[in-house]
Symmetry: C2
Subunit: 151 residues, 2 copies
């Protein structure tokens, strides 16, 4: 993990904490260019905005706004284990590198699809990511299941 990744993960974690403190799902995300420019950041908005599609990654892409194809192609996205929608968004824009805070608390299986398309996937073992998610899932299992399309 390079120093730019450390900045990116801290931005994602700040977003995750913000969402948790609002009563929302504590998944944040940042999108950074290869030289460390912050292109966008955001967090899951299911609870705050009644949104079924504003997962952390989608919120960060929205925050970045309209970008030319080439800008995505040297970017890194930092978040949690991506669901199929967010995996698809990463593939749509050909983002070449994904840093995942942890995938012990939950894993949506997107890592394999990303790797099969040549995306570099770095999985960390960040304790704060794990603690925030475990606490949320324990306290609000129904909201979490809704977010991942489960009963």
């Amino acid at each position: 993990m390079c120093s730019i990744d450390q900045v990116g993960i801290q931005i994602a974690l700040t977003q995750a904490r913000k969402s948790f403190n609002e009563g929302g799902i504590p998944i944040g995300c940042s999108l950074l260019s290869v030289n460390g420019a912050i292109l966008g950041a955001g967090h899951n908005q299911r609870i705050q905005k009644s949104s079924p599609t504003l997962h952390g990654e989608i919120a960060a892409l929205e925050d970045a706004g309209r970008l030319k194809a080439g800008v995505y192609r040297d970017a890194t996205i930092k978040s949690s284990s991506p669901c199929s929608m967010c995996t698809g968004a990463i593939l749509l824009y050909k983002i070449p590198r994904v840093v995942i805070g942890e995938n012990k608390t939950f894993s949506m299986g997107g890592e394999d699809l990303l790797k099969s398309h040549g995306v570099e996937v770095v999985v960390l073992d960040n304790e704060e990511c794990k603690e925030l998610m475990a606490k949320f899932i324990r306290e609000k299992p129904e909201e979490w299941n809704e977010d991942i399309g489960e009963e």
Copy 2:
């Protein structure tokens, strides 16, 4: 194609025409339950809202708002050939049936991934869908390429 599909396609086309008339990408979408209840509808918002993620399908899911898992599982989504992000959203919520207005003007390859997960994919050959898309791509190729992550 059943009569509920005909209603769904007309709603998607109405959304597509609305977007075209606003100068936007003419892809609309509807989400209907198996008994014909309209759960949500929307259209691509790249140009109107500077949004890189509000494709037609995502806009319709957003319009539907938060739904329980079971509601998606007897729904049908009607749109164009889905990109990888929208394909992933359909898989996330386990929507079992997708009706595509046409896939001659463009095809993003999502159909095969959907079918490999057991999703029923119905591809129509709707002339108005083809005409709207062909006209937009001819008139605004840069915006279209941006929407599909190409240079």
